[in-house]
Every structure is written in structure tokens, then in C-alpha cells.
Amino acid sequence: AGGGASGTVAVDGSSTVFPMSNAAYELLSEESPGVQVTVGASGTGGGFEKFCSGETDISDASRPIKDEEAEVCKKNDVEFTELQVATDALTIVAHKDLAVDCLTTDQLIKLWGPNSKVDNWKQLDPSFPDQEIKLFGPGTDSGTYDYLAADVIADESESTRKDYEASEDDNVLVQGVSGTPGGTGYFGYTYFEENADSLKALAIDDGDGCVEPSAETAQAGEYTPLARPLFIYTNNAKYTGNEAVATYTDFYIENLEAIAEAAQYIPLSEDQYAETQSALEGIGS
């Protein structure tokens, strides 16, 4: 894309997608140094609120936009395009020394459900160790939280339990879980992969036996119910009106595989990629 382009791009939203968007910028800045991008990581929900009020140009998301959010965008005349950029395996992590390797979906729901009072591993399964549970997880504005609450637990309150240490910054969670015996938490696969030596990932048994989170299991659709798509949302008007936004978005999608790889993400399947490309071409036409 145009090496001479210049201007600023404001990206915010999902912290799960953040490393990817940042990597995209990093690669772009070598060929188009005039394009200045700031990438924030306030969570999917927070990102959409800014996006729909016109504060940002691009919003990272670890779940599709909700109807209420789209409503706000509409009210503010923000037209947008959804582009899937990668696949994630929401990973349940635990302290390295924890003598638990696999959870069933039910156990997961029992642990994180809105009314859960579980505070010892033994309460989930008598074979589990007698150890206090310390919970870590993303805050309520995060897409990852929404995904667990709405799509996995699927309670009508669309929430999880609240007595856990919450942070939008997944890295805080990594440190919390790895530094707390008995600790467990959940976040995007990338963060687990980066810290695989200090954490362990629990396999999930959704009825078909324990499945480890990995690029393959996620792409193959075996890692249920925790595999999910990741997106960026582009403001159409900014894309057509701001050379820098277009340059960045085009570069992002063009080099999607390389970017996903560089940022250690699970790349899209070919079909998915084709879909994304056509969505991009649709902007402004």
C-alpha cells in the first residue's frame, strides 16, 4: 500500500486483538512511516462505545457487535464494516502446580456461574486437590467476558460471578494466575501461548473428551465451546476520508496471515479469508 500516505489512525477495543493490531502497525510503519497509529486496549465493549461515538477509527473486537451497540453507531451516523481477522481459543489457565488438567463444560459453568460460591477445587470434583481457588478474569467490558458469560454460561443475566480479580489487561491476569497457587483464570489463546512456560492450560471436555486449546483444534472446530472469531470494525467514512485509515486497513487485511503469524494468532481458514477480503472491497462502494 501507499508508502507516502500520512495521517493518524485511532484504534481501540479488544485487548485480545490488541497485539495483532499493534503488530500490523509495526509492520506497516516500516513501509509507510507517515501513518501514525495509536492502539488502545480498553476491551471490546469500551472500544465499541468509543467507536460508535466517533472517537476512534477502528475498533478491535473479540465478539461481534451487539445490537444495542450498533444502535448507538447508527444514531451517531457511524457506518462500519466488520472484518474477521483471526480465530481465538479462549483458554482456561491455571497455576502451573495445580493438579487439575481438564474441566468439563459443566464444571466450568459451575465454577464461573453468576451464583457460584465454589472456592475450593475439591468442590468441583472430589478427585481434585483440596486447594483454595483464586479467580482472575477480564472485566465486564471485555469481549472475552461477554463470550464466557453469554455464549458459554448462557445464563439469562448474561454475567459471571463477580468475586474475582478483574483486569482489562490480560497480562495482569497472566501474572496473577502464575503467581497465585490455586489460581485460575481465562483469556485469549495468544496470551497463553506467550506464557506457556509459566502457566498451564486446562483442556475442556464438551462431551467428546478433553480437548487442549491449540491452533489446530480451534481451526478444526474441535475446541468447543471456547473457539471464537476475532474482528476489527472499520468506520466506513474514515476509511474513505482518511488516507491513513485506508492504508492501515488495507495493509492489515493484505498481510493478515503474516501478521497473525508474527503475533502468534490462529490464522483464518481460506474461506474465512476470502470473506474478509470481499467485505473490505465492499467499503465505500
Binding site: T8, A10, P19, N22, A23, Y25, E26, L27, S29, P33, Q36, V37, T38, V39, G40, G54, E55, S167, D169, N171, V172, V174, Q175, S178, Y191, E194, N195, S198, A262, A263
Partner: protein, 302 residues
């Protein structure tokens, strides 16, 4: 009262024998406690610097200063944007706060009639402002930026407004002290010759107070350069890959970069953050040293 003769005999033994009453066990324990109090803080500081320096040792390289923040190569991540950003913020803050602070201090010290309620009010108000938590200034700066109609707040100007408000009381208070240290005799000498208060201030008080004002200003700025909380509130991004270019440019700051990196789990980021902390401390300690140097070298003792 005992007779003088009796007393004399006792004296001869009293003043020489036995140990000094400044050396009784109780006194010595007390003194030991005071020593401990004094050096505890210093010890912590040393431990802090040493452990951080050891953690950051692998990263004392050129990339630390010249490279931008990197997701792709954490082991080569750098703080160029943060260092330049902090410098930009510092200068903008100084431009906003220093003239204002000095003017306010001169008014309060040289012109204000303390009998007037509004001057007393300003006085009390200032004491309060000095102790307002820095996050609150962040909240205020957000509101000010919104009022001024800025859509993007995480720019040099936004950060500088927050920091300027934060250090304004510091500058006012230290300037007043410097001004107050100029002896009244000098002032009265000038006024008795028929100079106006303004002439006296401009020609006598202010020049004599310059070293003190400089010291206070530098200390204020060194505080500003280390602040993270208000900048966090104004929305400075942690990851910026370009140099600031003007007061409306999006920007990051060294403490913000450190903050976003301290919470990253990868070893490489921890090392980078440690190294950056040493850089930040060097910047701040140099400013402090400069302030102390100015104070010792130029401050007149009257």
C-alpha cells in the same frame, strides 16, 4: 540547700566518672532507632535501584532509546516515544505552569493584603490544592479537554494541562518561599527610596529569588515527569510508534510506557521496563541534582 563544701566533694567525682548520660543504654537504643528510621528509606531506595538495575541489565542498549515499542520483537522494544513524549510534556507543562505560578506567588507574597478575605481564601485554597490527589487532576483535565472541544485527549496538550495543574501549587509554594527569603530590609530599603512595590519586586526581590524559583520549578517538573496517574486518565496510549510533533500530537510518556509494560508477563518486557525505570530515575535524579546544585551554588544566604 546543702552546704557548698559538701557539694564540692561530690562534684569531683560527679563530672569525671561514669559514662556520659548521652550514652546510657536507653539513649543508645533510642539513637539506634533514629538511625534505623533514617536509613530504612535510603536502604529501600538502594534495594530498589539495585534490583531494578540487575533486572534491566540485559537491556541497557541503544535500542532502549532509539526503538519504538514492539510487539513483534519484545527483546528489542524501546522507549523512544516515551522519552520524547515525556520531554515534550515537561516543556509544555513548564510553559503553562511556570509563568502562572510565579505570577501568582508574587501576587500573594508581595501585593496581597492578608487582611482581605479573598486573599486568605486563595491562601487556604492553595494549601488544599497541594494535597489533592493526582488522579483528581486527571479527571479535571479530562473535563477541561472536553470543554475545549478536543475529541482526542491523549495528546501533548491534554497531558500537559493535567500536569501543569498538578504542579502549579508546588511552583507557587516554592516561589513564595524563595521570595520570602529575600530579606525585608532589602524591600524596605527600596521602598524607602520611593520605589513602587512593583519596581521593588521587579528590580530587587525577583532577581534575588531567581535561584530559589529555579530550584522549585525544577523540583516541580521532576515530579511532573514521573507522574503516571493523571496521564492514564487523560488517555495517553501505551503503544505509540512515532515521535510527538507539536502540542496536538498523540503522545505517550515514559511512566505510562513503564506502566503498560510492568503488567506484561513476558520476561523481555519486564527487562525493558526495569531498564526504562533506571532511565526514568536517572532523569529525575539529574533534575534533583541540578536543583540542589543551583540551590547550593547560587542561593545567597543573607
Amino acid at each position: 540547700m546543702s552546704s557548698v563544701a559538701a557539694r564540692t566533694a561530690r562534684d569531683l567525682t560527679r563530672i569525671t566518672t561514669g559514662r556520659s548520660r548521652d550514652r546510657t543504654p536507653g539513649s543508645l537504643i533510642f539513637l539506634g532507632g533514629l538511625w534505623f528510621s533514617l536509613f530504612f528509606g535510603v536502604m529501600v531506595l538502594i534495594v530498589l535501584i539495585v534490583t531494578t538495575a540487575i533486572d534491566g541489565a540485559p537491556r541497557f542498549d541503544g535500542a532502549l532509546f532509539t526503538a519504538y515499542d514492539s510487539t513483534l520483537a519484545p527483546e528489542r522494544t524501546g522507549f523512544r516515544a516515551g522519552i520524547l513524549g515525556s520531554i515534550w510534556l515537561m516543556f509544555t507543562t513548564a510553559v503553562l505552569a511556570v509563568p502562572l505560578g510565579i505570577a501568582a506567588a508574587l501576587y500573594l507574597e508581595e501585593f496581597a493584603d492578608n487582611g482581605r478575605w479573598y486573599n486568605r481564601f486563595i491562601e487556604v485554597n492553595l494549601q488544599n490544592l497541594a494535597a489533592v490527589p493526582s488522579v483528581v487532576y486527571g479527571l479535571l483535565a479530562v473535563a477541561v479537554m472536553a470543554l475545549m472541544g478536543f475529541e482526542r485527549k491523549g495528546i501533548v496538550l491534554g497531558g500537559a494541562i493535567a500536569l501543569a495543574m498538578l504542579i502549579l501549587p508546588v511552583i507557587i509554594i516554592t516561589t513564595r518561599e524563595a521570595v520570602r527569603a529575600v530579606p525585608t530590609e532589602i524591600r524596605h530599603g527600596s521602598l524607602a527610596l520611593g520605589a513602587t512595590v512593583l519596581q521593588t519586586t521587579w528590580r530587587q526581590t525577583l532577581p534575588s529569588a531567581v535561584p530559589g524559583i529555579a530550584t522549585g520549578t525544577i523540583l516541580g517538573l521532576s515530579r511532573a515527569i514521573g507522574e503516571a496517574a493523571p496521564l492514564l486518565l487523560i488517555g495517553l496510549a501505551g503503544a505509540v510508534r512515532f515521535d510527538p510533533a507539536g502540542i496536538f500530537s498523540p503522545v505517550t510518556a515514559l511512566p505510562i510506557q513503564i506502566y503498560s509494560m510492568t503488567s506484561q508477563s513476558q520476561e523481555a518486557y519486564q527487562q525493558a521496563a526495569s531498564a526504562a525505570i533506571i532511565v526514568l530515575l536517572v532523569m529525575i535524579l539529574s533534575l534533583n541534582a541540578l536543583a540542589i546544585f543551583i540551590r547550593n551554588k547560587f542561593q545567597r544566604s543573607w
